[in-house]
Amino acid sequence: MSLTRADVEHVASLARLGLSDDELSTFQEQLSSILGHIEALNELDTAAIAPTAQVVPLTNVVRADEVEPSFSQETVMELAPETRDGFIAVPAVMGGGEGESA
């Protein structure tokens, strides 16, 4: 399995990872090599095998719908890199620099 440069750029964009040119080259090579090892799985015929996503003998764990104490707004907001008027602030979604459009 050999990944193209465009594949690697596409995956980085899906994962929201800003990668340098060097990183893109390194990952292109390394991911191709790792996927080569993973191809060993194709030796197995799994057409009739059910997938296993998890191994605990539990399904649909729910709790009573009761209000419980939680963190104060202040506690949670203190963790955010940037806040404004009791909200978490982020840069504009559509680009274009400064402004209240966020």
Binding site: R16, L31, I34, V55, V56, L79, A80, G95, G97
Partner: protein, 490 residues
Amino acid sequence: MSLPQDLTLLTVTEARAALDNREISASELTRAYLERIEEVEPAIHAYLHVMQDVALTQAADADRRIEEGTADLMTGIPVALKDIFCTTDAPTTAASKMLEGYISPYDATVVARLREQGAVFLGKTNTDEFAMGSSTETSAFGPSRNPWDTTRIPGGSSGGSAAAVAARTAAISLGTDTGGSIRQPAGFCGVVGLKPTYGRVSRYGIMPFASSLDQVGPFARTVNDAALMLRAIAGVDPKDSTSVPVDVPDYSAGEQDSLKGVRIGVAPEYRAEGMEAGVDAAIQSELKRLEELGAEIVEVRLPHTKYALPTYYITAPAEASANLARYDGVRFGNQVEGDDLNDTYLKTRGAGFGAEVKRRIMLGTYALSSGYYDAYYVKAQKVRTLIKRDFDEAFTSCDVIVAPTSPTVAFAIGSRTDDPYQMYLADIFTIPANMAGIPGISVPAGFSDGMPVGMQFLGKAFDETRLIGIARAYEQAAGWYQKLPDVATT
């Protein structure tokens, strides 16, 4: 018993008795560990944060509690925590620049349980970044070193927790095991490492890596100590819906002196190519010892063992790529501001994550992406079924399976960092148990090239009491755990 001059030589079981009999105080014990940390930590770097003030306060509280007669299992016992366990009184960084300086507003459930019991927190230990690695070399804050030879890695990802117990800078410690991250470093550092059954211990408040595989467990100097710690932390937690509501037994109750009548499964698939001759020799000799102790060695087949590593390197990165989406620099953690929101995500994640974490996010994102999901992710889940079936079948003819923990002893710092897949091979014998969700314990089993060799015992799901009983009978007869490394002090 007569007390050693150096209190860090006590096992947890011995320290518990000495505390309860008022032969020592929790404050004395804690100071002994803090002094030991000062002496050997520069050579080992097991810790990212030492919690000296917290520890001394907790020790004084523990002494009051012992005085009142309300001591619990871990009251006054100095514990080290892997730095992916959230704590309200020390940073939790996951050894990542993304979370440098981050202090959680809540404790992980296991941390809260230890706190309630009056444990003493010595500090937060080094790990591979977000628990992704086999050596601690992916830590953003530099690798830890193996107490048996400081030019070598301690293993990983929970390498700091393993090194701390081996170097006696903690009485006991906690780590997580997603593909071997407890058992592998325990083997490399010559200590006991226990990965409980998936679902046995709550993961709430522990930074997730691969949620269908992650499990919490102890590093200890003896099997008995590990059993005590498991009892202290195990049990259902409403905050972790994968924790299973089963009884928490006294795991140390399965006491057995001989192994008469115990059926030990040995699989030829765990004597693979690439295994070091010294490791193979040590394991073969210990298998003979098990037979001499009365165990019956039964050959079992685990034919899908060789597919566990490729299965893992689809499943774990896929789950990681989803789990690590939360680190976007908006609600918490560090942010690098960009031109717009998307650019901020790109820059924050590009600068915050190290190479191994990025590699796994990329691999997982690829495996889950449109057009590749069935070929990789679903395929891996199907092979996971086959791996689990192998164990189900094997356990119809044996009580436990015994295998080397790793194919080699601890390797030199820097020797595998250029080739990711070479590094991944360090976990080839530990990954299958995670895929099947079964418990495993690595016990010191001799030496090769002057470095410790670990041997793992794997049991049926939720059969820890028997697993621990068998591992302890072996440990006590073999006695390898009594050998301690001679760490250079400053």
